[in-house]
């Protein structure tokens, strides 16, 4: 197990390093001269040169990358091109907002989708199963902002007026206000995840239903309830729970458009706004943080899967 963990962490770190190199090149080299970007077309070459020198971008690329990386590892992502403030000043609160929204979306999504998956497995091949599967498949492929817009039309100010269509920054808002204002963005994200988690739960439950131990449990006279809870669900759903964490990365793709739609300044919103004003240090930090979140979540999922699987857990180091 230890060997597996170390191996998995090492591979993750290598990929993370590669990712940081790629986004550094994308954000620092592809756009060209930062002085020209910030100061505009009319600036004198002299001013541009001075700006670049002050920023340190006239040094060779490997030096700049090493410098940036050693700062970034310590949580310092440099200063905005636009106003010179530290990137982390805006990044940290944005990240907290996004995490709140993400957790909210998962809390809405997980119970319903697991229930739907189990029902689909029990009604395998029948119309209920087909309906759940097709609904899940369709919801999973509709862009999040489209789902959000349709939800707001139905539940928002236009008709039912149950929830607000705009969230805003929610600074100093009470927990209840937050939960209320973020219900629709969280629901839109939850609906997108629904299909995938329901499918995993369905597959896991079906496998457990077909397994020999379930037949044995039924034949030895256990009540159907006991068979379901102690044998089928326990074996069928544990892998599903581990798989859910791999969906965090997917969620953060959707969060970009959803935060933009609802005007909620999380990390997705920050990614879009910093890209629009070409504030590359901020954009770079946002993309890297999203990548790190994905890696941590996937790692957690893999380790959890391994921990639940005795064949991996008990493997001896040879």
């Amino acid at each position: 197990m230890l060997r597996y963990v170390l191996n998995r962490v090492a591979l993750g770190l290598v990929s993370l390093l590669l990712l940081s190199m790629m986004i550094f090149v994308a954000a620092q080299v592809l756009p060209g001269n930062p002085g020209r970007i910030v100061l505009g077309r009319e600036a004198t070459p002299n001013a541009v040169e001075q700006f670049n020198h002050a920023l340190g971008v006239d040094r060779p690329l490997p030096v700049r990358y090493a410098d940036w990386l050693s700062d970034a590892v310590r949580g310092d992502f440099g200063a905005n091109y636009t106003d010179g403030r530290a990137v982390t000043d805006d990044l940290v609160p944005a990240l907290q907002r996004s995490l709140f929204l993400a957790v909210y979306a998962f809390i809405l999504c997980i119970p319903i989708s697991i229930l739907a998956g189990v029902i689909a497995a029990l009604r395998r091949g029948r119309p209920t199963d087909r309906a759940i599967t097709v609904t899940g498949l369709s919801l999973a492929v509709i862009p999040e902002f489209v789902l959000g817009a349709i939800l707001v039309t139905l539940l928002g100010p236009a008709f039912l007026n149950w929830f607000p269509g705009i969230a805003g920054a929610l600074i100093d808002a009470s927990f209840v206000t937050k939960v209320d204002s973020l219900f629709m963005p969280a629901l839109a994200l939850a609906l997108v995840l629904f299909g995938y988690i329901a499918r995993m739960a369905r597959a896991g439950t079906m496998e457990a239903l077909d397994a020999d131990f379930t037949r044995t449990a039924t034949l030895k006279g256990l009540k159907q309830r006991q068979v379901m809870v102690r044998h089928v669900l326990r074996n069928g759903l544990l892998p599903t729970i581990a798989v859910i964490s791999t969906q965090v990365g997917y969620l953060f793709g959707g969060i970009v458009a959803i935060e933009k739609l609802f005007g909620y300044p999380g990390i997705g919103f920050l990614t879009v706004t910093s890209a629009q004003i070409k504030n590359f240090p901020m954009l770079l930090a946002c993309v890297l943080v999203i990548g790190v979140i994905y890696f941590v979540a996937t790692l957690a999922g893999d380790l959890l899967t391994a921990a639940l699987n005795p064949r991996v857990r008990l493997a001896r180091q040879s």
């Binding site: 993370l16 590669l18 498949l137 862009p143 817009a149 739609l261 879009v272 070409k278 994905y294």
Partner: protein, 306 residues
């Protein structure tokens, strides 16, 4: 009395009629028949064809010009003359939704084709050579896949618009960026299909004949992994529409006064309490196209997996 005619069997000759049941042509025809008969495929195909027709003939089909502002008030609610109502500056939303199909359908198929082509080539290389080639490219792919493709698209499109004023995004740039964003995931799928094939006898035989790697990959292995590639292509097409619509919503696409669906939603969302019709019709258009393509993809996948 004539004895019944016995078929003459010649060693190594092709079998006489009746033909065996599983010639490649027959299998292909049977697969196609299964796909075409599926109700999910038919629904998906009808909706997709509708939007493709709108993309090509939108200006002819639409009752009004999509940027004609001469109908009077802004945000007029749906009526007989304007079934989807009027938008903020008084343009006919029905016409805008129909013509708006063009910007998506112009980019999405080309982008997924590019992504699938590049990804397949990369997957063939990784699967065939395995070893360190596979290892290095595999790590790079892991790294790219850590970033959701929308974020990848934003980063690349912003970087490519460099020192120019604002963000300039042409259709060609969108095709290339979305294609590149899809390449890693396609490569991963194709790679695992190639890994199954590479140790089979026909590949060994080709190697022993002294065929060169490009020949083995493209002529021997590629036809045998077309199944997963076709499935991947249909699935990617759905995601390409997803990506184009989302990027347009975020400002990376057609600019006003274009009737693009994502752009319409972005422009008018803040007025949703005044005029839900300006948001919901373009939204339903995107949803119907994406779901339709995925119904097709789902059928193709189920039939080919059988």
């Amino acid at each position: 009395m004539s004895s019944p005619q016995l078929p003459v069997v010649v060693e190594g000759a092709p079998p006489l009629s009746p033909k065996p049941l599983d010639t490649p042509q027959r299998v292909r025809r049977e697969t196609l028949r299964l796909i075409l008969r599926s109700p999910t495929f038919i629904i998906g195909a009808i909706v997709t064809l509708f939007w493709v027709t709108c993309a090509f003939l939108g200006y002819q089909i639409a009752p009004y010009h999509p940027i004609d502002e001469s109908f009077g008030f802004s945000y007029e609610s749906p009526s007989w003359n304007h079934p989807f109502g009027l938008d903020r500056v008084g343009r006919d939303i029905f016409s805008r939704v129909i013509v708006g199909a063009r910007s998506v359908i112009e980019v999405a198929p080309a982008a997924s084709l590019l992504g699938v082509t590049l990804g397949s080539l990369l997957g063939l290389l990784m699967g065939y050579f395995s070893g360190w080639v596979d290892n290095i490219i595999g790590r790079v792919i892991d790294a790219i896949l850590a970033v959701p493709f929308i974020v990848f698209g934003i980063l690349l499109l912003t970087a490519l618009s460099g020192t120019s004023e604002g963000i300039s995004v042409s259709s060609l740039k969108l095709v290339v960026v979305i294609g590149l964003a899809f390449m890693p995931i396609v490569a991963r799928t194709v790679r695992s299909a190639v890994l199954v094939e590479r140790d089979l006898d026909y590949v060994q035989a080709a190697k022993l004949r002294g065929e060169r790697p490009p020949y083995i990959m493209l002529v021997e292995i590629l036809p045998n992994v077309m199944g997963p590639i076709v499935v991947e292509a249909t699935v990617r097409l759905g995601y390409a529409v997803f990506a184009v619509a989302t990027l347009a919503f975020l400002g990376y696409g057609p600019q006003p006064p274009s009737p693009d669906w994502g752009l319409q939603i972005a422009e008018q969302y803040s007025d949703i309490s005044l005029a839900w019709w300006a948001i919901v019709f373009p939204a339903l258009a995107i949803a119907s196209l994406v779901v339709a393509i995925n119904l097709i993809a789902d059928t193709v996948q189920q039939v080919l997996d059988q």
